[in-house]
Structure formats: structure tokens, C-alpha cells
Symmetry: C3
Subunit: 467 residues, 3 copies
């Protein structure tokens, strides 16, 4: 068993002082900034009884906690178990997949609470947080988990933390432009989370291009049980995606509708993925890579429109198409991206998030442009698109235009941000591994000796060979 002769060959991957320093300094910064800025919102504050009277609420059940907490927990599972385990498919990178995802997400949600708080929940010098902020912080970190998928196995934990710092910042700016300046609807984040996150990650991995990556080719595959671990991630993402797309929609029908549309889209997506996975393989066998990933494209592709009156059959159509696009992407685009454009995309986020994210943005723009008072009802129409205040004269077609503009802005932010952050990550100070040590947990983790029987064989077979 050729264990890599990593550890300070060409590169210094020694983390002992660098990683602790970054973690501790940044956590200290979080504490200071939270101390200065973050306080409980009215619904989580002990003054709630007074607040309740002021808001004229008769029951504690009207607290936003009860509208959103179950969805929050589902989203939380998606970020930590969903993304974490989805990436355990590599045979020797399970610790890194789950563990680094854990690390970057735990840091990212803190920084996102601040960044998003300054933009959206800032009042009298304080950021007031409640369950909706927690969901949004998880969403923001979701875009980092997506980008992580592109560079999985090729970066040090410090690089991931640096990327998280910058990406969360840029995410918040982009989100502010879309939601507040363009007044765009994007509850499930097709644009803000998936399009932005994926193209950001793809740009970063392009900048970090490693010409000799085939040296670790043998570790880029899966083994039987690592594929099953990855299916845990897949299924939790798939099952809870209705919660993801509905988590921050308006109370009542909008949350309800988002969940139904997403449920339908995802169901359709599974069938077209299976169909194309079999069709595009000579022997007609199904490929776990497709099942693990492309089945989720349906959730991404209704991220913007799920809370609109997309209708169940509309969702089936969108889901069907996105499953096809995503599977085709794995078979044809990913090799092309690597060989021609030098974009090494470990998890294929271009297929699972980038293209379906674009579809999602476009479907959202069309659905918005096609909205009528007849379909939504007079009140429902205004509420669905928040056509109030300065936006009360906006028409559906104009809204559709702004939605489309949101896609373009997200793409530009992703390319520009990814290029800059990629450049920063390229500095030779972050401790990334040499090409032949990529996709190998042993570089940054204490790895136990293999299964006892294997360990036994590791020492033995060579000996009897020379009696």
C-alpha cells in the first residue's frame, strides 16, 4: 500500500502554529465584534412580553421561532451533515470532507451573522438577531460549502478559513445589492447562494490550477463504503431541500408553496438523472456520482421561483430539465473544463450548483415576469413580490428584468471575487499540500491504522513473498 511520502516534501504542510493562530485570533475578533454589535432581537429578548403587547399578539406561538425553527434545523443539517457527508465520497479524504466543512462552517456562521447583520438587521448601532438570522447565516455558509466542493482535497484548512472570510464578505455585499438595491426575490438562493457560490469556487480553483494533479489520481476515486457515506449527505440534502427553499419565505402560503414546489422538482429530478446516468454509460450502468449529485439539481433550480406560483407541474418541468443538464455536465463538461479550461472541479459543483443555479435564476425571472394579479390575487400579488413603498409601481415584467440583472451581478461578483481570493490563496504561506499528497487525509489529520485485518496484511504479504 503506497502511503504517500508527504509531509514537507516540496511543501511545508506543518499546521502546528499557523492553524491555531488563525483560529484563535479570529475567534477573539468574533467575540469582540459580537460584544460591540450583536444583541437579541425583540422575539428572543426577555422583554418579549412587552413586545407582544405592542405587536398586539395574543399568543407565544406567534413568535417567529415557531414559524421557522423546524426549517432552521433542517437547513442546519443540510450544511453540516448534508454538505459534509456528500464530500466523503473520496476514499481517503473523509476526515477532511466532514472536518474541514465543520470548521469553515462554524467560523462562517459567526462572521455571516455580523456581515449580514450590518446590512439587514442593524438598528441603533446594534445587530438584533433571531432565528431568521441563524438561517441566513447558514445560507451564506452554504455558498462557501459549495465553493469548497471545487477545491476539495487540494487546500489547507487555513486556506479554507481565509476563503471563508472573504467569501462571506462578498456574499453579503452581493446579497445586499440583489435583495435591497435591485429588490430581487431569491428566497432559496439560486442566485445568491448557488450561482455566486459555484462560480466563485470555480474561479478560485482555476487560479489554483495544479498541472500535476494526476499524481494523486489514484486517490480521486471512491470506495464502496465511502460512496454509501456520501449518500447520507445526498439524501439529507434532498429530503430537507423543501425546508431550505421555504425557510425564509413569508409566513403562511409562501412557505407552504415553496415546500411543495421544491418537493415536486426534486422528485422529477431523480428520474431524469437516473435515465441519463444509464443512457450515457456504455454498459447502461448507473453511476453513483450522478445519483449523489445530479438528483439535487432540482432543488437548486427552483431556489428563486419556489415561493412564486410556479405550480407543481412547472416544478416537475424545471426539475426534469435540471437533472438532465446536471448529469450531462458530469459526463461531458467536467472533463472538458479540466482539460481545456484548467478548471479542476473535485465535486463537480459546476454541474450541481453553477448550471442549475443559472437555470434557477432564469426560471425565477420568467416566473416573476409572467405573474398576474389574476393568478396571485390582488393582495397576494403585492405580498409575493413586496410591491410596496417605492416599489409599488413596479410591474411583473420590470421585476423580471431586475431578476435577470441579479444573475449578472452575481456572476460578476463571483468572477471578480474568486479571482482576487484565488490570488490570495496562491501565496505560498498557507501550507497546502504538494500535488502527490492531495486527496489524502494523512497530511492534516492523525489517521488511524487501517482495518485490523488490512494492517495485518500490510506487514505480512511482503514477507512471505521472499521465503
Amino acid at each position: 500500500m503506497e502511503r504517500p511520502r508527504h509531509q514537507g516534501m516540496a511543501k511545508n504542510t506543518y499546521m502546528r502554529w499557523r492553524l491555531p493562530l488563525v483560529c484563535l485570533l479570529w475567534e477573539a475578533a468574533m467575540i469582540v465584534l459580537f460584544g460591540v454589535f450583536v444583541r437579541f432581537g425583540a422575539e428572543a429578548d426577555a422583554h418579549w412580553e412587552e413586545e407582544k403587547r405592542e405587536m398586539n399578539l395574543t399568543s407565544d406561538i406567534e413568535n417567529d421561532f415557531y414559524f421557522r425553527y423546524p426549517s432552521f434545523q433542517d437547513v442546519h443539517v443540510m450544511i453540516f451533515v448534508g454538505f459534509g457527508f456528500l464530500m466523503t465520497f473520496l476514499k481517503r479524504y473523509g476526515f477532511g470532507a466532514v472536518g474541514f466543512n465543520f470548521l469553515l462552517a462554524a467560523f462562517g456562521i459567526q462572521w455571516a451573522l455580523l456581515m449580514q447583520g450590518w446590512f439587514h438587521s442593524f438598528k441603533d448601532g446594534k445587530i438584533l438577531i433571531g432565528v431568521e438570522n441563524l438561517i441566513n447565516a447558514d445560507f451564506c455558509v452554504g455558498s462557501v460549502c459549495i465553493a469548497f466542493g471545487a477545491i476539495l482535497g487540494k487546500t489547507s484548512p487555513i486556506q479554507l478559513l481565509v476563503m471563508t472570510l472573504f467569501q462571506v464578505t462578498l456574499f453579503s455585499v452581493n446579497e445586499y445589492i440583489l435583495l435591497n438595491l435591485l429588490h430581487v426575490k431569491d428566497a432559496g438562493g439560486s442566485m445568491t447562494i448557488h450561482t455566486f457560490g459555484a462560480y466563485f469556487g470555480l474561479t478560485v480553483t482555476r487560479v489554483l490550477y495544479r498541472p500535476n494533479l494526476e499524481q494523486s489520481k489514484d486517490k480521486q476515486g471512491s470506495v464502496y463504503h465511502s460512496d454509501l457515506f456520501a449518500m447520507i449527505g445526498t439524501l439529507y440534502l434532498w429530503m430537507y431541500w423543501p425546508s431550505f427553499n421555504s425557510a425564509i419565505s413569508d409566513h403562511g402560503d409562501a412557505q407552504h408553496r415553496s415546500a411543495i414546489n421544491t418537493y415536486c422538482s426534486l422528485a422529477a429530478c431523480v428520474l431524469t438523472t437516473m435515465a441519463f446516468s444509464s443512457m450515457l454509460q456504455k454498459k447502461g450502468k448507473l453511476d453513483m456520482v450522478h445519483i449523489q449529485n445530479a438528483t439535487l439539481a432540482g432543488g437548486v433550480a427552483v431556489g428563486t421561483s419556489a415561493e412564486m406560483m410556479l405550480t407543481p407541474y412547472g416544478s416537475l418541468i424545471v426539475g426534469s430539465i435540471s437533472g438532465i443538464v446536471s448529469t450531462v455536465g458530469y459526463v461531458y463538461f467536467t472533463p472538458f473544463l479540466e482539460s481545456r479550461l484548467h478548471i479542476q472541479d473535485t465535486c463537480g459543483i459546476h454541474n450541481l450548483h453553477a448550471m442549475p443555479g443559472l437555470i434557477g435564476g432564469i426560471v425565477g425571472a420568467i416566473t416573476a415576469a409572467a405573474a398576474t394579479e389574476d393568478v396571485y390575487g390582488k393582495e397576494g400579488f403585492i405580498k409575493a413580490f413586496d410591491f410596496t413603498g417605492v416599489y409599488r409601481t413596479r410591474t411583473p415584467s420590470i421585476q423580471g428584468g431586475f431578476q435577470a440583472a441579479g444573475i449578472v451581478v452575481s456572476l460578476l461578483m463571483a468572477f471578480a471575487g474568486g479571482a482576487i481570493v484565488g490570488g490570495i490563496l496562491k501565496l505560498p504561506i498557507w501550507g497546502d499540500a504538494a500535488a502527490e499528497n492531495c486527496f489524502e487525509d494523512d497530511v492534516y489529520w492523525e489517521v488511524p491504522e487501517d482495518e485490523e485485518s488490512d494492517a495485518y496484511h500490510m506487514h505480512n504479504p511482503d514477507k512471505p513473498a521472499s521465503p
Copy 2:
């Protein structure tokens, strides 16, 4: 390592055109039918604000979404992770277990939304759906997942899709007869889901009897880690079963009571299962097959009665008995069914679903027959059994009789339906594998080479042996 010499020996398992064709045509049909029939129900429609006024609701929290969505997500997890991973216990059929379960359930929920919609949510030519429809679709598919357990490892994905198509149809008819014509209560589906699903699956596997199945005997067992994967399925089914049995009960006390009864029944079931698992084994050791399956019988066995005033101690009794019956079934009945009745039941669904389902139906009938206004309260009595309209004169003992009739109808539908569908599946056009290739993922899946160290040994040890 003797890899099977499958692939087109006696049988043609080539899926390349057949599987895509079935998936794509059926998904297209779903899109058309959804387009014609399926719309949002009032609580998911953008007209909800008007609806709210009409229904005299003061708050969005009264939307059915908030009563049922958390339970829906739990049920969703049970169908996809619960059933999917429960069946990963086989050493070389993990991809098929999780993947085919994913495929059939994703198709099944779409078809169930239509079938159940026509029977139960049809209004002015449209099927109006909300969160309760999603739960019911998942329930319906649950019965297919159960049947899948009997034929696990012996069928092609196309056969599973064909079975799903028919079984969902028959399920909906049976459910309509029970709930609407017999006016039977069965919120947790002891009869409609478990009894029907299990006897349907057992009949199908009987028709598909394979005399030479011992040729793949070596693959019918588990390995250490596959048993742990299966425990993920077991635990999620066990933990979320209170949500399963309460998901579509009436708002308020009925949902609350169902959850408590199920919690108690399942707890008791674990102890009797452990007791009999140890008692029935010569060396007194526990058998993972029992722990993985029989511990769940308690949830099945209170499926009908959980929302009734079964009482916590009643639940303990039912749970205790069902754990015993189920464990005894694994030790004595399963071998008997196979050798004498030629019923090859891969997962032992006869023990986990069929017998406990019957117990559940009977307990439900008795509990209904024993109901009194004293125990339920005057209003509670009418509400619990919906003794309104044409049923307002029905007495508990008559209700008990109808409940019992529901068991019989479910059995008859299962046997008749299973025989017909089994006959269809026996046609030699669906691409099932030869007996020696059963329980082997390699037939329908791209399977990665084994653990690197294993792969290494596979080639080496033989060589040094002959220096």
C-alpha cells in the same frame, strides 16, 4: 475474490435503453397529468390572504403547514433514509438498496399525488394539494418500500418502477375503500400501508420464486460496516415513528396522543426484541437482524390505534407483544416460508410489517369497539371516530366490525394485486439478473474497485504464493 461472472450469462441485464425510456416516458406523463390536474390547495395558494379571511383565521400560524410540516419532514426521512439504509445490510447491495429505493420513491410520490388526489382532493376538475397530500404520498410510497424489502436484490430497477406504478394504484383504491367506503380509522396505516404493502410484496416474491437462489447465498449476508449502515435506517425509522403515526391525525390532542402511544410502544418493543433475540440463539448472543428490524414492530402495531385512547400501558403491551412475534418470526417463520411456501423474503418483511400490521389492525378494531363516551368525552368521541353526517349513528362495536373488515379487504387486495403484478414482473423483458448474480450491485451499478489495500491484495497474494 470471486467476482460473479454476471452480465448477460443466462439473462440480459443491459439497462441502457430500457431504463432511460421508462424513466423519461413516465416523467413526461407525470408532467402532462400534473399540468392538467394538480394545483395548489387554498393554504399554499397566493390567494391565502382572502382564504384566511373567509375561514376566519387571525394568524398565518393557523395554516396547516405549521401543524404538519415538521411531521412531514420526519416521515420524508423515514422513507428515504429510513427504508433506504435499513436495506443496506447486504454486503454488496448497498447502492441498490439506497439507490433503487430513492428511484422508486421519487417516482411513487408523484404518481401517488395523482392517484390519491383523484380519490381525496379532487374539486372542480383539479387536485388541490397541500402538506397533507405530501405526507399521504410518502405514506403510499412507504407501502412500496415495504414490498421492495421482500424482493430486494432480485429485481431490476425497471421491475421496481413497474411494481411501483401498479402498487401505488392499488394502494389508493384500497385506501379509498377503507377510509371512504368503510369509514375506517387508520392514521398510521397498520392496514393500508403495512398489511397491504407486506402481503402484496410477499405475494410478488412468491410469484417470482427463484429455485436456485442459493447460488448467491454468499452475498445474502452482511459485513460489519454494512450492519452499522443499516442501523442508521433502523434508528431513523424508530425515532421518527411517532411522527409517522401522528402526521395526519386531527389537529390537537389526536396528534399529541398518537405520538405518545407510539413512543411507548416502540420503547417496550426494544426490550422484548432483545430478550427473544438472545433467548432464541444457542449462545445467547444478540442478532443484528432482529435489532435492526423487530425493534420497529411496535410502531407498526399501533399504527391504527395510536390516535385512539389506547393509553400508554396499552401501548406498552402492544409493543411488547409485537417485538416478540417479530423476533420469533425471524427465527422460525422466515426459514419456513422459504423452504415450504417458496416465499423468499430478503428483509423479512413478514416479520416486520405483515404480522405486526395484522396485530395493528386487530388492536385498532378492539380499541375502537371498546370506545366509550366516558373515556373520550362527548365531543371527543364524535371527533375521534368522525361519527358525523351519515355515520352519526354508528356505534363503537359496529365501528370495530368495519375496522376488522378493513383488514380483510386489505389482505384480499394485497393477494390479488400481488399475484397480478407478480405475473407481470415475471415477463422476461424487464432485465432482472440471473440467480447467481442476485444481491450484487455490480449488475446495475458502476462499482468502484474495493478499498485500496484490498485491491492491492487482490492482485498480490496469489503471486507471492508461488515463488
Copy 3:
């Protein structure tokens, strides 16, 4: 592969009659006691319609079920999947970890419903249960799961059941003293669950000290995939901890606040754990033991104070400190406890539950003592600490004193109870394994032959070695 030559060497581990007897007798006792005592509470009883009128509730959504059921399910997952899988890290004790945890928890929740019911829900000779009782039963069992962590791999299932019986009893007494006599706040159980459970378990394992445990040293480690299984447990505990700490808090702001504080504390804890894990290892590599455990200390450490106005930055501070203390504990204290104090702590519960539990108790006392009407609002202040009735004159500083007293009482109960129960478990009648057979599933479980390829090698390599 040296399979242990266990089974009745020095010790008789034969379970065939003993385990079934204990399980069945105890389950029978549960049925009788439930029959005599346990009934549905008003919100789960069919008389709910009348109750609703009496309580002046206008909607079913006011049923406590809808306030707490989602949190209950999260807690349920933590107990069965969280604790169960967290302990699967051992290479050959996965069945015992998940299976025995399942067994003891299933028994424990029944006994806890009774014990806690007698103390807290007893009315007119009956224990009236609802969803809050289910949560509390799970909580109580949580303390047993913690203690199980200390003796993991060294005890028979009967010993675990005996320990559960006694520990649940003592837990309930201790909880009654703290909550009812001292009027202490401890919603997340830093004192009642973690401090008590951990020191109880540590005392038990001290009494059961095995001098020759190094005989099974080779089985005390993990393998690659067992570490990934353990991460499932870790992540579910980590993600759902906000539900744990908020599950039984007051409706409204208190639940909301608890969730936010816990979320913040846990996020910070991950960063300091990673920092110290790397810092304390010569090569700077991360250790999965720390990631699996110390990242959770932040949840334990805000267990008492989460529902108070700890504030988000306060939570970050507490989480940061507890991550450091816990990681340092794994590196320095655990070896010390074993070599000097003869405390063999398999899972390191001293680092994950004992020390963070103490921190949690102390932080709770300080936060309570520092409370002011200004911060909480007049009403909020009284509500948060329940300063009503005989307690209406209690001041924050006095409350802080009582909180501190709660820590001391919990410690004393744990030491005294642990010593007695340890003594009972030391009797040579319970069937525990010999030292060389510890941490080995084969003693109490039917274990499948290893991976087929391994099995193949097990028989072969020895042969070719001697040509």
C-alpha cells in the same frame, strides 16, 4: 488476525437466560406500573375540546405539542443516533455502542416517565403525560448515555440495564432537589444531566477499575470508517443541541433565546477545539477524538444559562473556553486519570461532560446572580427565574447562590450514587467480559464474517507463507 479467545475463559458471559429474564421481567413491571399510574395529560386526552374551552384557548395550535414536538424529535435523535453513533468510534464495538445504547435508552425512558412523573406530574394518583414528559424522559436517559461512555466496552448489557435502573432513579431525586427544593434553573441540564451523569459514570468506572485492561489495548482504537460513523453522532449532537437546550424552556422568547445562545456557543467551540487539537500535537495534525467530542463542549457549557440573557457574545466566550478545556482534557487529563486515579474513561466523558458541565453550572450561577430588571424587563425578570409565589422575594444574588448549591448537590449525588451502583455492578453475576475481551462485539453479538475480501485473506495468507 488474532481473534480473541473470549467466551468463558475466565468469565462467563453467557447471556441466554439472564438477559431475557431481566428484559422481560422489567418490561412486565413497566406495564403494571404504567397501568396503575400513567394516563394522558389534558393536552393529549380526547377531552381536549373541553379543556381548550376551560383554558380559553381559541386554536389547536396552542396545544403544547406544537410548541415542543419539533424540539422533542431533535432531542430524540440526539439520544439514539447522537450518543449511539458517537460511541461507534471503536473498531470492533460498533454493535455494542449503537445497540446497547438503544437498549438502555429504551428501558430508561419508560422508567424515567414513571420516576419523573411521580415527582413532577402526579395528580390525583395518576401521572399525566404529554410531550414535555417525553422530552424530560429523554433528558434523563441522556445522563445514562453519558455514564455509558465511561464504561463503554467493559460491561455486559445486564450491567447497563442495572445501572440505568439506579441512575434514572437517582437522577430524578437529584432533579427534584434542584428544581423543586432549591428552585434552580437548569433547562439544558448542565448540572442535572451533564455534571451528574458524568461524575456518576466516572465513579462507576473507578469502582469497576480493571488493572489488566491493556490486554485489549489493540481494540481501543478506531479505524478509518469507524471514525466517520462516529462523526455522524457528533454532528447530530452538535446540530440539534440548540433544540436540547431550548426544548423545555418557557414558550416564546426563552426557547428562542436558548437556541441562539447554544448556536453561538457551539460555533465558537469548534474553532478553539481545532486550534488546540493542532497545537497540542507535535506534528500539528488534527485528532479526530477531539473533533468528535470537544466540539460539543460548548453545548454542555451553556446548558444552564442558555435561556438566560447570556447574550451572543457571552455564549461565544463560554463556548471558546469550554472547547479549550475539553481538548486539553483529552491530551493531559485522561491519561492522568487512568494512570494515577485508576479512572478508565473510554470516551473521555470527563472532558466532554464533566468539566464543561461544571463550567455550565458556574456560568449559570453567575448569569443568574448578575440578572437585573433592566436587562430582563420587569415581567421578563420574574418570568425568567419564576420569582413567583414563595420565591417572589428571591434576589438574583440569592438565586446565584442556590444555583451554585445545585452544582454541589449534583456532585455529591453523583459520587455517592456512583459508588453504590459501582459496587452493585461489581458483583460477579452480571456476565461482564474478561479484560482481554473488552471492546469486542463478538462477546455479546453475532458478528458477521469480515468483508469478503478480508475473509478471503484471513484463510489464505497463512498458507502461502509456508510453501
